[in-house]
Every structure is written in C-alpha cells, then in structure tokens.
C-alpha cells in the first residue's frame, strides 16, 4: 500500500519544521486559556462534593491525566507503525517525542490518584484496578524510553521503539482486563471511585475544559520536542544550515 504523495510532501522534514512552527502558538495559547478557565471552574466555581468534600477536586487533574496517558500511548504506537511501514521520518520523531510526555502524564495520574487516595482510603497507595493499570502503563513507557535511549543510531532506536510500542498496544487490553479481573477477585480495600454514571454538569464542564487543555498542551509540546529533535537529526542538511544562519 502506498501513501499519497501529498503525505510525503507534508511530512518532509523541512515542511514539517516550518508548518509546526506556525502551528505551535495555535495550540499553546488556547491551552493556556482553557487551563485557566478549567482550574477556575474546577477549583472555585464547582460545588464541593457531598461525600468527599473538597478533596474530590483533584479529579480535574487526575482524570484528564489518566486519559492522556492512554491516548499518548496509542498515538505513539500509531506513529511508530506509520514510521515502520512507510518509513516516514517525522512519524518516528513524533513517536519518540511523545514518550516522555506520556510518561509524565502517567506519573501525574499516579501521584494525583495517590493524593486522592489518602483522605478517601486512609492510605497513600491502594491496589485498585485503575491505579495498578496506570502503574503498569508507566513501566511500559519507561521500557520504551529506556530502549530508545540505549540504541545509539536514531533510526534503529525509532524502529525498535515502534515494535515495542505495537507489542505494548496489543498487550494493554489484555493487561487491563487481567488487572480488572484480579481486582474484582480481591475486593475489600478498594472502593470504586467515579463510577457514578451521572456526574453533575458543574463538575463536567471543568473536567472537559481541562481534558481539552491537556490535549492542546500535548500537541504543542510534542511539536516543540519534534522540532528540536529534527534539527539534531538533519544537522547535515542544507535547510537546517539556512535556518540556523537566519536565526543567528
């Protein structure tokens, strides 16, 4: 299967560099605005929960982070597959640029989950299905990052990472299902949280605002990381020299 020529044209390093430079502000500014709005509505406007009081407000960080952690892994695997099959350099770069961001969101989800757990369960850590899955996901990210870091040649690193990300994507549903199943067997300490199907609208709005803000943040930061990696990889190319000469 061949990709249309236009895809190759837009994914050529030079075009990508120029286009992404123009796109970043369009992600970064809305991200900032939505982040401020989301935090305002979430921390100040939304009413306190009748059971959990104020501490529930951490979901405005925790839940979007957990969503991001899954989404970025998917992006990584898809970008990796595109790079592996169609040999598009930009896809490789996007995949490896995504990993640290994804790992950071996973870490954030774990930390906020743990902070939330303390007042709720009286312990910093509970082997609840979601937290456990998230912890395993963090290790999948760390494995990916460590593998790429230890392969010197950037092209081989990208391809090896892509294989690992694809293996991970096949495994994530299996791992997720196993952990869910394991945790229902050992019920007791765990309380299922956020399983209320009807979340109040005043809580839903900030949650969605934050979720969109996080996605925009990811888009802006992955482009920035990809741009700098691109300059490093293409350091011998003429267009990079021109850009460097113009900017300095």
């Amino acid at each position: 299967m061949k990709l249309p020529a236009i895809v190759h044209k837009f994914s050529s390093p030079r075009n990508f560099y120029v286009m992404s430079g123009k796109l970043i502000p369009w992600f970064a500014w809305p991200c900032l605005i939505l982040l401020v709005a989301g935090l305002y509505y979430g921390l100040i406007e939304a009413p306190a929960d009748y059971q959990q009081g104020e501490s529930y407000r951490i979901i405005f960080i925790h839940v979007p982070s957990a969503w991001m952690s899954m989404m970025i892994y998917m992006v990584m695997a898809i970008a990796g597959a595109i790079g592996l099959i169609w040999r598009i350099k930009m896809a490789d770069i996007v995949a490896s640029a995504s990993a640290p961001i994804g790992a950071a969101f996973t870490f954030l989800a774990l930390v906020t989950g743990s902070l939330w757990g303390k007042p709720m369960w009286g312990a910093w850590w509970v082997w609840d299905a979601r937290l456990t899955s998230e912890l395993i996901l963090l290790f999948l990210y760390l494995g990916f990052i460590a593998l790429q870091a230890s392969i010197e040649d950037p092209r081989n690193a990208a391809r090896a990472g892509a294989v690992l990300a694809l293996v991970g994507v096949v495994n994530i549903p299996i791992i997720h299902y196993s952990v869910e199943w394991w945790s229902t067997l050992h019920q007791g300490a765990t309380i299922t949280k956020l399983d209320k199907p009807s979340i109040h609208i005043s809580m839903l709005i900030p949650l969605l605002l934050m979720a969109v803000a996080f996605k925009l943040y990811y888009a802006a930061s992955v482009l920035m990381r990809a741009r700098s990696e691109l300059l490093k990889r293409e350091q011998n190319a003429r267009w990079v020299r021109e850009i460097v000469a113009n900017e300095s």
Binding site: L84, G143, A146, I151, N171
Partner: protein, 226 residues
Amino acid sequence: MDAKLSTAFWALLKRDLRLAYRHRNELLNPLFFFVLVVMLFPLGTSPEKELLMTMAPGVIWVAALLASMLSLDTLFRADFEDGTLEQITLSPHPLSVLVLAKIIAHWLVTGFPMILLAPLLAVFMYLPDEGIGVLMLTLAIGTPILSLIGAIGMGLTVGLRRGGMLLSLIVLPLYIPVLIFSANAVNTYLADLAIRGQIYFLMAVLVLAITLAPIATAAALRISLE
C-alpha cells in the same frame, strides 16, 4: 518451497537442541535459580505453613517468571555474536518461522524442565497435593507464553552491550497477565471452584502469542542486526 522450509525449520530446531546439549552444564542454571528464588520467601517471611500455603502459587509463579526471563539470554546472544544470526536472517525462508524453531528449542530446554521441577517447589511451599496438577498445567500453558513474549524483548535488546536490566524492564510488565491468571487458577482450584475461565484465557493468550510473537521477534532481530 514448503518442503524446504520444513527442512530449515527442523535443522534449526535440531541445531539448537544439539548446542544446548553441548552446553548442558549451563542448562541447570535457570533451574537452580528457580528453586533458589522460591527458597528465599520462607526465609524472608516465616516458615509458617498457613502463610506459605496461601502464597505458594504466586511465589512459584513469580520465580518462574524471573527464571524464564533470565534464561532468555541464551536464545539469541550467542548467534548474534558469532554471526550465525545474520546467516539465519539472510535465508530465503520467512524469518518468523525460523525464529519460532529457535523459541521452541529454547522452551524445550528451559521452560519444560521447570514444569517437571514444580512438584518439588510445591512441597517446599506446602502447596496441597491436589494443587500440584493445576500448577503444572498452568506452567505448561504459561511458560511457552513467557518464552514467546521474552523472545521479542530479547530480539530488541540483543545488540545492546548492557541489555540485561533493560530486558527485564521491557518484558516483565508484559508477563503480568500470565502471572495473574496462572497463580489465580491454582488458588481457585484449591478453593474447589471452576478454573475453566482462567485456563481458556491462558490458552487464548498462548494462541495469540504463537501467531504474533514470532513476527514481532523477526522484526526486532532485523532492527538489532542493522
């Protein structure tokens, strides 16, 4: 073509078994490790029969996971270093099928003996006799999965000078479903409940691993050889 592929497949399987036989003293190391890890648990906790009994399936399975992971090094390392792996990749036959021959040979000399060793460990951990059969059954389905998944990780790290720690970071998270379902099958059986679900799940994962892991391993090896 097919006849020739099977010739290559069997030749490679036989070659790896022959090589394993010529290094037979090394074959025992993962097994010693397997027993040693299990032995550490009573020493680290207490020799209380009740405690060890509840922990037995989990502990034996964790040890199996670690032993099988450590044994992966022999799967591709030597072939990578002496260049025979290059020759295998350059064969006109599909690499994934040839890789499967190597994985099967590897399982026969590492995973299979672990099944036979299980009753001894069951005795160490006071696992009731009726649980031993199920433990061996889960090992029989589970250890091939470990070899197949491990082969992918080994394929990715074989070209790296210090791949050992990295291998565990890559492979152990992927081993988790096997651990959960296998250990649970034994516990559930001892509680006199049906374990069909767990066994079916493990079988399904095994089928998935047999179909996909050799392809991923072949891709990984090609990358590592570059």
